[in-house]
Subunit: 206 residues, 2 copies
Amino acid sequence: MDIVIPLFDRFEPLDAIGPYEMLGYLPGATVRFVTEQPGLVQDVLGSLPVHVATRYSDVERCDVLLIPGGGSFLAMVDDADFVAWVRRMHATTRFTTSVCTGSLVLGAAGLLDGLPATTHWDAVADLEAYGAVYSTERVVRHDRVITSAGVSSGIDMALQLSALLTDELTAQAIQLYTEYDPEPPFTTGSVAKAPAEVVARARTLG
Amino acid sequence: MDIVIPLFDRFEPLDAIGPYEMLGYLPGATVRFVTEQPGLVQDVLGSLPVHVATRYSDVERCDVLLIPGGGSFLAMVDDADFVAWVRRMHATTRFTTSVCTGSLVLGAAGLLDGLPATTHWDAVADLEAYGAVYSTERVVRHDRVITSAGVSSGIDMALQLSALLTDELTAQAIQLYTEYDPEPPFTTGSVAKAPAEVVARARTLG
């Protein structure tokens, strides 16, 4: 089972690494990061240069494509070759997935037109501009396409995906191994729950 | 504010990157990864080589020390120079922290003797061997020392720590920015809740 995660400069670390942590424990799965030019790829926070050895254009098919978001989505959606590659890959996958603003890349590839999808809460208008129908669900599945909300939602998505790719026992074991029994310290994790001053402050962080 | 995260080969990706994602948005904070020999450091799953530029022994003080776990803890606890460095750093920090089996490094440095602490659910005996008093809490704080449970618990710990280092509004904004409103697909995220067959299966994953 070949799982491919494209990383471009300014990727959001948890968008990519949350799902990688979960999917990396799937028996028989290989998770590969791919990029435009092999070498070091820097994250949006600036302290996590990851060495990516594989050029995306050298990959011709995969079982799962997972597009993380972050500052990298801008370069991704503007790169016609990359967007065309995403479209070609989608024809080969069992599941084509995204975390956070990674869904905008799926939108640019024409994969979300008229379909329910999600993205980071502050990028909803961008998603709708691609013809997607925004859903407030944290993980949105339509047939082979799964999008998830902002940053940390990729963990929930990847565990659901793990069950689809294998079975519930395996996914449950991964959830236990990674001790994913979250206790968020505050109730401000979604715009539906956060007070206006928290939303305003969060908008200054990105 | 200088936050330092040592990475050794076979580190558990989410142990390090979950907290990095949260702490990296703290205004005025710098998060730095450090290692034994600068260069590429490979994670336990084998697909995430991170380029780490700073030798830990070149760091003489920091505000926060955060030790991730994973397969790297074995090399860490066996390295007397590193353990001595952790002890020296602790004398300079505002908070000395760990995720997962990273707490065993704090134990080896003598920082947990007689104190409440936690670790990955499958490493409790190892923790107790260092004289720590195991707590079933997900995040355990004793004065300046904060330990958290397995892998994903570092996210909860880092958000609590963010509030301690700055203020609740900032921590709440980070929780919203990263859309941390978790919806785990199963109820098997802790040994207290998981059926025996899930525990048995999880033990085969590591």
